[in-house]
Symmetry: C2
Subunit: 252 residues, 2 copies
Amino acid sequence: MQVFSVAGLPDFQPGMDLSQAIIEALAAQNTELMAGDILVIAHKVVSKTEGAVIDIEQVTPSDEAIQLAAEVNKDPRKVEVILRQSSRIIRSMKRPEQEEGTIIAEHKLGFICANAAVDESNADHVGQLITLPDDPDASAMNVCNALEKHFGCQLGVVVSDTFGRPWRLGQTNVAVGLARVPAITKLDGSDAWGRELKVTAPAFADELAAASGLLMSKDGKCPVIIFRGLAWQASESKAQDILRSKREDLFR
Amino acid sequence: MQVFSVAGLPDFQPGMDLSQAIIEALAAQNTELMAGDILVIAHKVVSKTEGAVIDIEQVTPSDEAIQLAAEVNKDPRKVEVILRQSSRIIRSMKRPEQEEGTIIAEHKLGFICANAAVDESNADHVGQLITLPDDPDASAMNVCNALEKHFGCQLGVVVSDTFGRPWRLGQTNVAVGLARVPAITKLDGSDAWGRELKVTAPAFADELAAASGLLMSKDGKCPVIIFRGLAWQASESKAQDILRSKREDLFR
């Protein structure tokens, strides 16, 4: 497997054509995409080109946001955006030594993560908040279709975001949008010695997203990573297929 | 970055020399390790060579194990081993439609995962249980030292296991033992536009482990994956450095 980044992408702004920018950047590095290549794209560049950005100056916080913001010492306007992006707050807490506390929310698309994935890093200016795209699967498919048309071969696209984990420090990238890439690899039910494997199902899309973090430096300069040489079958997976149902959840 | 597997490794048994087997398999595929190469090794082959395997026929379950086993419909002897490997049971539950329920435990080394990482897949025979190595960091360093001596260059080793996640389906590999590989990459505190990034710290070792899952098929034939071409600095990290302290944990 080879993994490489797309160099020289521009600073993306609302209305820019992400697919065209990737095509041009690949041309500049003399790279053609090949059948089976998978692109992992940081959601931030998708969000920016789709205009999923919010100027904090334009936000009027609700009473609920003001109350929660006081509890965790965050800007009430940012908390208002977090609440708008959420279906539910799962946990909120500020320890005495923290300057800002933690809000773990269930995003309205079902993802459970800090701040409902509302992010102010890599925004274009202080006070700009970036949210997830409205429909990250559709975003992934738009880019996939455009690149497949240009390169004349079947590709896959994962839109990723950077999430923390409950019991482990640091962050890894996970898949929040999928085009053709299977969410989970169904194994054939036997291990190397033919015994039934009841519960093993590699989270293929999340493995790709996590791997992209090895090259996708958070400084935002490498938001598109390409994987070549993997054996995989195209699927109809949606990113929601990765989510554990509330009924099966032990930790919500 | 190039990622490739070590082909032709044997079925490992207690007492076998894992490092020597890797050296021989690499020689057979005409591959020399190079400075900066990182190996991710599935803990199962480490556990097997170190004898961290238990014959379920030799286990006498305690009353606590018998009670918990009844609750989740597992073999009481397997539950006994899970309890011995655990410092605490975090959750246990069996839904009516499940044949076997779920035990989420805190392993005595601090990892929170299903069944305290006790596994019967890829065991050599039915009734054999595989546990984590006693000291996975030491295991990683043993292999790292032997390979560094043979190849004459600085390497890194991650020992991995396959964990589920609370809110996401499927499994990803995570790091349970480290030699020279940093647990977490400390970023320089600014994003692409110079803004302070307060909370971003990529879980480098876990990114490597997750990426290894793309090539480390669960059928057990590819337990050693090599990463080449990454920029990284050797560290004194231990796998415990990845663990969130109980005090900061919102979900224990």
